[in-house]
């Protein structure tokens, strides 16, 4: 049935309005960050002064966020990849329970998780005041994404058979994990890693509670600039954030497409 012109027009208008709703403010923010005076508009000229000011004011938050994101990635890889294999290889009621508990933090608001961490460990001053406190929160929140991503790939490639093959050739359990399981999990590890880094760099709900004035991250600095800086600086800071996050997002989408194509080809 050909769509009636009216229905088509309605769908088109809704789609364009939705796109405008999402894109216009983002573009406005990018432009405001490089405009001399936002209220006079682009006529007032373009400048990188605001970006330079952001750099002067907030550069430490940018480096801290990158460091915490990479640290979070390391921990989630070290904890998550071996655990994903262990959970996938022999599914039982026990492994399902473990999986359920481990993915629980995704379903609970970050604010509540942060509150729990503060009540339990806030008294340990050195820990509370360090970046490690934020790192723990980020690992708690991103670990399920790494686990799920790796588990999904491992469940798809049928690790058991591969492992048995390797075992029949005399490979030790550790060799099987390192040389058979990990290489086969690579697409999942890649997708999970991109997800973990993206989420960690943008994390605010937990981090706002966990940070101290000396451990501000990028999103915490953003909230600070939205509340207390002129619009151009807030926009320039947001622009810096976009420059960090958008390549990561594009990489996630690209990796996802790649994986789907592989899966489609693999299907008979």
């Amino acid at each position: 049935m050909r769509t009636s012109p009216l229905v088509f027009l309605f769908q088109l208008v809704v789609t364009l309005l939705a796109a405008a709703f999402l894109v216009v403010p983002a573009v406005t923010s990018i432009l405001a960050g490089v405009t001399v005076n936002y209220f006079q508009g682009l006529r007032s000229g373009l400048t990188l002064d605001w970006v330079a000011q952001v750099w002067g004011l907030y550069a430490p938050t940018i480096f801290r966020s990158i460091a915490i994101a990479l640290g979070t990635l390391c921990v989630t890889l070290l904890i998550g990849v071996p655990a994903a294999w262990a959970l996938v290889r022999k599914p039982s009621r026990m492994t399902r329970l473990v999986e359920e508990i481990v993915t629980l933090p995704v379903a609970i608001p970050g604010l509540a998780l942060a509150l729990a961490l503060i009540l339990a460990y806030g008294g340990i001053r050195a820990f509370r005041a360090s970046d490690a406190f934020i790192l723990v929160g980020h690992v708690l929140y991103t670990l399920p994404f790494m686990l799920r991503s790796v588990m999904a790939v491992l469940a798809g490639v049928n690790v058991r058979t591969l492992e048995e093959g390797a075992a029949s050739l005399g490979a030790s359990p550790w060799q099987r994990f390192a040389q058979v399981v990990v290489p086969n999990a690579r697409p999942g590890i890649l997708a999970g890693s991109l997800m973990v880094v993206t989420l960690s760099i943008g994390e605010f709900n937990l981090t706002w509670m966990l940070h101290t004035p000396l451990t501000q991250t990028l999103p915490v600095g953003l909230a600070d600039s939205y509340a207390s800086m002129r619009l151009e600086i807030a926009s320039a800071y947001t622009l810096v954030f976009f420059l960090m996050i958008v390549p990561l997002l594009l990489a996630i989408q690209f990796a996802g497409r790649e994986r789907r194509t592989i899966q489609r080809k693999a299907r008979p």
Binding site: Q11, V23, V24, A26, T28, I79, P82, R89, I108, V246
Partner: protein, 272 residues
Amino acid sequence: MTSADRLARLMLLPLGAFVLAFFLLPLVRVVMVAGQGPNGASEYLSVLTNARHFSTLLSTFLLSAGVTLATLAIGMVVALFLVRNRFWGRSFLVSLLTLPLAFPGVVVGFMIILLAGRQGLIGGLTQSLGMGKLVFAYSMAGLFAGYVYFSLPRVLVTLMAAAEKLDPALSEAARSLGAGRFALLRDVTLPGLAPALVASGAVAFATAMGAFGTAFTLATRIDVLAMTIYTEFTLAANFSSACALSLALGLITWGVLAATRSFSGSGVAAAG
């Protein structure tokens, strides 16, 4: 037990230790603190018994339900349009619509300020049309717009994937049996999309119930649960109340996600 089983068990240890130390024990602490306030164990139910908390719960719930319905309605129209039509620039449009996926709540709050704030685009537009300056960013309406902004890209991704898997033969059959446009939508398209609608709707709902960043950026006075927990904890230092409300909120978001997951197979992760 084979040596591989032993290795597997060993490899679960770090995960178990981390989750025990930084999730389960802190959770126990929250449960304890919630019951040790001036109101004792009755604090656990304060979200229902305390009139102020209950009205906050109600307004958060209504806001989240509204956000969910609006996002699903917009998302379904856009997803069906993008899946059924091929045109020049389509994949670019899809990229634009899904790009905000990576924006955290704080940034979304700023987007709403730029759109509907004191110096916002909408206000400028209505002013130049002689209707006065329309400013709604710093209120429940702004939060509503913010959560739709936050959830729309996520909902779209899920719905588009589901719409692509709809079997065209089903609609062909329905049409050949004389189904009209509306009947087709109601009896074929909607049931086909139902699992995706439920899954993505649940995530949108849970996010709107528990998110904090957007509300924090827009205004500290907005009366939603996350803001109440934040002010009780940091400003009023009313720990038992903050803990009890956190437990209630966590139970609600987890419950919604768990219930819909068993309905629709696998859930989509919430982020924000």
